[in-house]
């Protein structure tokens, strides 16, 4: 049983195409941010309606939707931004194709080593972003999602690249479908949450330096192209809170697999330890959001720490610390 070289090559080319699309999309998103008018946020004037019967937090969302529907966005930067979404979707399709062909080439799940795993995490992140885009006007996030995805895929395709090959016996279990899929999905979503958190931190410090600009209702005078810090904070929280139970499930599934493979469900192996640390830090983040005096900047910093722990869990542990998870050929 060896890898099919044609399919494997097709997979590599598809990934290359996906990265290319993501780069183009990133430039498009960046152009929209650089040259477009401010993002639809805050109570833009609602034509013909009175806003006095509506709650403030409802208005912004509602207004945003209406502005999005009724031509609040005009001009070439907006067109470029929309085109960037289309290119992202194209890249996403190619990316899916890359994973599928890789899986067909080796006749197994396409997440058996760090290269494949990184690619799948990026796919999860892009999927999460596109999904969020269908629910909320978050195109401003595009560039900040594409950037880490492109960097990540770049590293995966060069440093971590591994030729298509069958699985080592330790990974040959149906748990690879459960544990690893959960881990990849949650990591991809955490990655999105991390991007939003960084944006929040930037926006929050900008707002503190410019107290004269009201948080909402800045209108045309504002040069701000991002939503208010409070909106970003809410989005970041929702994204991270969505990923947290999936990560919890990944850790539990990992423990069940560890029990079947190594005879104990938990042994403080470096990978297990760092997944625990990641879990604890994100749990701290969720609690901090609900604690007076920790909300906002501090909670966001904990979120950043959580993503850092996650990255250590994946990369530092595999590359520099030896343990039971050090099989996944670099």
């Amino acid at each position: 049983m060896t890898a099919d070289p044609d399919l494997a090559a097709a997979s590599d080319w598809l990934l290359f195409g996906a990265v290319l699309c993501y780069v183009v999309a990133m430039l498009g998103y960046a152009a929209e941010l650089a040259f477009g008018r401010r993002a639809p946020d805050g109570p833009a004037p609602i034509a013909g309606g009175s806003t006095d019967t509506l709650p403030a937090e409802w208005v912004s969302e509602r207004a945003a939707r209406r502005v999005a529907r009724h031509g609040g966005e005009r001009g070439w930067p907006t067109a470029v931004g929309k085109a960037a979404v289309a290119v992202t979707v194209l890249g996403w399709l190619l990316h899916n194709g890359s994973l599928v062909t890789r899986g067909l080439a080796v006749e197994r799940v396409p997440w058996g080593n760090m290269y494949e795993f990184s690619s799948a995490v990026c796919l999860a992140a892009v999927t999460a972003y596109l999904y969020l885009l269908t629910r909320q006007p978050v195109r401003y996030l595009g560039a900040f999602v594409m950037l880490p995805v492109v960097v990540y895929l770049g590293i995966a395709g060069t440093v971590l690249y591994a030729p298509a090959a069958p699985l080592v016996p330790a990974l040959n279990s149906y748990w690879i479908k459960i544990h690893v899929v959960a881990a990849m999905t949650s990591s991809g979503i955490f990655m999105l949450g991390f991007a939003v958190t960084l944006l929040y931190l930037a926006r929050e410090s900008w707002e503190r330096r410019h107290p004269e600009v009201p948080e909402v209702g800045a209108g045309a005078a504002s040069r701000v192209r991002f939503p208010a810090a409070s909106t970003l904070d809410t989005v970041a929280f929702r994204v991270n809170a969505f990923a947290f139970p999936i990560w919890t499930f990944a850790v539990i599934a990992g423990a069940v697999w560890a029990e079947a493979a190594w005879g104990r469900y938990w042994g403080w192996d470096p990978k297990e330890t760092w997944s625990f640390i990641t879990w604890v830090v994100y749990a701290g983040y969720l609690h901090a959001r609900a604690t007076a005096g920790w909300r906002g900047r501090r909670a966001a910093l904990i979120g950043v720490a959580g993503f850092t722990a996650l990255m250590i869990c994946y990369y530092a542990v595999n590359l520099w610390i030896s343990g039971l998870h050090s099989y996944a050929g670099v």
């Binding site: 049983m1 016996p169 809170a241 042994g267 403080w268 330890t273």
Partner: protein
């Protein structure tokens, strides 16, 4: 004026309040995360004691400091245990009042509608021909079928229904936290009553589940090493399948076993990810390797050493190294130590060095270097059976042997014969009675956290007031979080409720739009 006793009690209460506050819990959580870091970076005694010894030898100063701080057994170190014990206490202290509050809330009635609906974030109003009582009754029925907890109030000219939903949020939250305590309890049960051990078993030999048979045994604290469930096991054959590039494809160990101490008679195949259950314990295949059969004879031909010695694989080609220690060659003569490497497929590299090109034993060979002198067995230094301490030894040369070959005389006229080889497996035997508790608690915790993050607690009020020209119906609601998602839900609910109202219904245009998003 307060008595010192009272102020002592007051300060105790204050300390308790401080410990059980969310802020303290957050700091403790963060400290636990940080405290776990050394456990992942430094070698850990329970996982790999030899790596700790090596680290201590390489970094004497820092190593000793780390050792004193318990960094080589982080997760059993007093400060780590203390931290999570504090976290547990803080958790319990936080949970008890919250459980009490929640139980009260579960029995409580939804509160009366606010005096004015104007401050509610979501609201619509309509005018209908129904009487206030009819409106309230219809709204209550509909809300009930949608599983809202309702209470109607008033009657006559003004009737109202209060409805509340989303108690599951706090229930889930509490289940999550109580389940975490369950996980810890399950872990404790496992540590007290379970056991875990590792043993190397060579093909053709047996294993009896007794403390002495293990290379490494961690007995449960409450049961001790003498109390292992009896069973026997015999390794008939081990087989590893490799691809042409040397990548392993499959491992299988054919064993015979028997619960109890009788001759093993049941057959089973152990594979990675497929353990064997016997006598309430599980047997796992962890690793494998080669064990050369080595015989050392003195110059008169008397056997000094005859053993199938497990060697440790060093790389993917299964070049495996091991050590033979012969302490008593003959009274008065130096002791003999042999450092050897087993090469499954021997080959000469371009630079002239020997190497193994494949893990499959197609051309096995043994290279060795012999040493004479003092093995250091009486020095009191910890001995590793896989390493030779050459401090008191001098090399007497080495060579290469094929199966069946005997070396030239080593020190004192002794010779070494490489008879052949067998394979060994490293078995892990474990029993953890707390495991099921941990799994159940973990699954409950997951269900709890999903519920508490998904469900919103929200309230809706319907008030019908008789007025000239019909009954004015006001519908309003609020949710403590996720206001926009609630707005959508409220829009649907309000649309559903206003549909109950026959007759001339007037709904503000602004609200209608939101009702059909």
């Amino acid at each position: 004026m307060t008595s010192p006793r009272l102020s002592f009690r007051a300060s105790l209460r204050q300390a308790w309040r401080g410990l059980t506050s969310m802020r303290t819990a957050l700091v403790l959580l963060f400290l636990v995360a940080v405290a776990a870091v050394p456990g992942s970076i430094l070698p850990q005694r329970p996982l790999n004691p030899f790596a700790v010894d090596r680290y201590l030898a390489d970094h004497p100063t820092a190593g000793r400091l780390y050792d004193r701080l318990g960094f080589f057994d982080t997760f059993a170190a007093p400060w780590f245990v203390g931290l999570y014990a504090l976290l547990c206490v803080s958790l319990v202290g936080c949970l008890i009042p919250r459980i009490r509050l929640h139980l009260r809330a579960l029995r409580a009635q939804p509160p009366a509608p606010p005096h004015s609906f104007a401050r509610l974030p979501c609201r619509v109003s309509a005018v209908t021909a129904l009487s206030p009582d009819e409106v309230a009754a219809a709204a209550q029925r509909r809300l009930r079928t949608r599983r809202w907890r309702t209470r109607s109030r008033g009657g006559g000219s003004t009737a109202s229904v209060a409805a509340e939903k989303g108690y599951a949020r706090e229930t889930g939250n509490l289940v999550f936290h109580v389940s975490l305590l369950g996980v810890i309890a399950g872990v404790a049960v496992g540590a007290l009553f379970g056991y875990e051990g590792r043993a190397i078993v060579v093909e053709g030999t047996g294993f009896t589940n007794t403390a002495i048979a293990y290379d490494e045994l961690k007995p449960g604290r409450a049961r001790g090493a003498a109390d292992l469930p009896p069973f026997t096991l015999r390794l008939d054959e081990f087989e590893a399948v490799y691809a042409t590039d040397g990548q392993a494809r499959d491992f299988r160990a054919d064993v015979r076993y028997s619960p109890g101490l009788t001759e093993p008679d049941r057959r089973a195949t152990l594979r990675v990810n497929h353990p064997l259950s016997v006598a309430g314990s599980r047997v796992y295949l962890l690793a494998h390797g080669y064990a050369p059969h080595i015989v050392v004879r003195d110059k008169d031909g008397a056997v000094l050493y005859d053993s199938v010695t497990p060697f440790l694989p060093q790389d993917g080609s299964f070049l495996s190294t091991g050590v033979v220690k012969v302490p008593d060659v003959r009274p008065g003569l130096p002791q003999l130590g042999i450092r050897a490497a087993f090469l499954p497929t021997v080959d000469v590299a371009r630079d002239g060095r020997l190497r193994s090109t494949s893990p499959t034993p197609t051309a096995p060979a043994l290279t060795y270097e012999a040493f004479a002198g003092d093995l250091g067995l009486d020095s009191g230094r910890p001995q590793n059976v896989y390493e030779l301490d050459t401090r008191g030894l001098t090399s007497t040369g080495g060579g290469l042997l094929l199966p069946g070959e005997t070396s030239r005389p080593l020190a004192g006229g002794a010779t070494m014969t490489f008879v052949g080889f067998r394979e060994w497996v490293n078995l892990q035997v474990a029993r953890d009675p707390g495991q099921r508790v941990v799994l159940l608690a973990a699954v409950l915790a997951l269900a709890g956290v999903v519920t508490s993050l998904r469900v919103r607690r929200r309230r809706v009020w319907v008030r019908a007031t008789a007025a000239p020209g019909g009954t004015v119906v006001e519908i309003g609601g609020r949710s403590r979080r996720d206001a926009d998602a609630f707005a959508v839900e409220f829009g649907r609910l309000a649309a559903d409720l206003t549909k109950l109202l026959p007759g001339p219904v007037a709904v503000p245009a602004d609200a209608t739009e939101e009702m059909h998003p």
